[in-house]
Symmetry: C2
């Protein structure tokens, strides 16, 4: 990680702040203190203040934060004041699920095309997009100024597709393939490793059932 | 967070170790040093040693780690030596995508049922599972000793469904609904907030393009 930048941990929390502030805004809440925000978000108030201080603090805490202002500022920091043009590579169940998820549009994430390597899918429409052959990838990205690609393809082909994408001028890859991608510096990758997430849940369930390795258990004792 | 426990940050890294070790094992690698593992995983060797020390260290670093042993131990810590029985609630695109993803089976995550509130879907089969009405939820969970539920339903109904689940004896919820769930202590929740992940990608793209707020920019300068 480049420690000149805001830590990815802080950045990872911004969307959650954005989500909660959006709900408060919808409920007509005008101001909120870091303590009140702490209570509903289940993080400490000092954590919230620390996170916000990375971006200048967002106003006088004595009076609480202005919800609409904070919502808008965090949205702008997240780049939600801009629109992004996306393609989906992999028209399987997951690719189609994402293509059909309209909430992304409202946040300025516009799906422009969907690609697959299965000829039997070519021309089939998902929302207004027809499934295109991989041969058209490079031209489509350039002609439509696509800046993000969503990879919903098997692990085996992900690396090769990522290499192809890295020559198209794409800026970001939202990777659902169960592999870590090796891409040039100019390209950002955000992974959604579903199996990893499910394993973490399994761990927490087993942990809560106290079904642990002896060495592991004693280690926990040491920490107490 | 309960600081008597291993931090969720460490736990969140275990599945990735497990994935890389599985690949090394498949490649026939027998031993690996923390430095070699560091190189392929792109984390520091000291991070790896620190993480592993939470679980007793996994053997003599001088000789490197035994890959097969480490793979098996981390798998056991993650609870992958046990099987888990899951239901999916929400038979939309995402629910069906997860139901069709066979890799979960191989890790011992067995999908036993899928539920929806849309009568037009009842009886439709996804793999060997037929889509069931929500009325059958409680009985099905008890009769089939389900321990995990996957929520692939809209935000609006997620809280109410989570409340229903909390009375069924379920141990974990894998939540894809774009809302944080409030459940009793005995139930573990792992969230997959796709929009949050996409926003984080947008942030990193915009950050890399240096399109930032002045206050944010100066803040970064201060940190340099």
């Amino acid at each position: 990680m480049d420690n000149k930048e805001i830590s990815q941990a802080v950045i990872g929390r911004l969307p959650r702040y954005f989500r909660f502030l959006g709900e408060l805004k919808d409920e007509g809440v005008e101001r909120i203190s870091s303590q009140e925000l702490s209570d509903i978000m289940n993080v400490t108030a000092s954590q919230i203040r620390q996170d916000f201080n990375n971006f200048g603090g967002f106003g006088q805490q004595g009076y609480g934060y202005n919800v609409a202002y904070l919502y808008e500022e965090i949205g702008r920091i997240l780049g939600l004041d801009k629109t992004h043009k996306l393609i989906i590579i992999g028209a399987g169940n997951l690719g189609q699920a994402l293509a059909n998820y309209t909430n992304f549009d409202r946040r300025g994430f516009l799906f422009k095309g969907i690609f697959d390597c299965d000829p039997s899918l070519y021309g089939k429409k998902i929302r207004s997009m027809e499934i295109r052959p991989m041969e058209e990838l490079e031209d489509f990205v350039k002609e439509n100024e696509i800046d993000m690609a969503v990879l919903t393809i098997p692990k085996a082909s992900a690396a090769q597709v990522a290499r192809r994408l890295s020559h198209t001028g794409i800026r970001g890859i939202w990777n659902f393939a169960h592999v870590d991608l090796d891409v040039p510096d100019g390209i950002q990758v955000e992974n959604v490793h579903l199996s990893d997430s499910l394993m973490k849940l399994a761990y927490n369930i087993n942990r809560s059932e106290n079904q642990m390795l002896p060495g592991f258990e004693s280690q926990l004792m040491d920490e107490k």
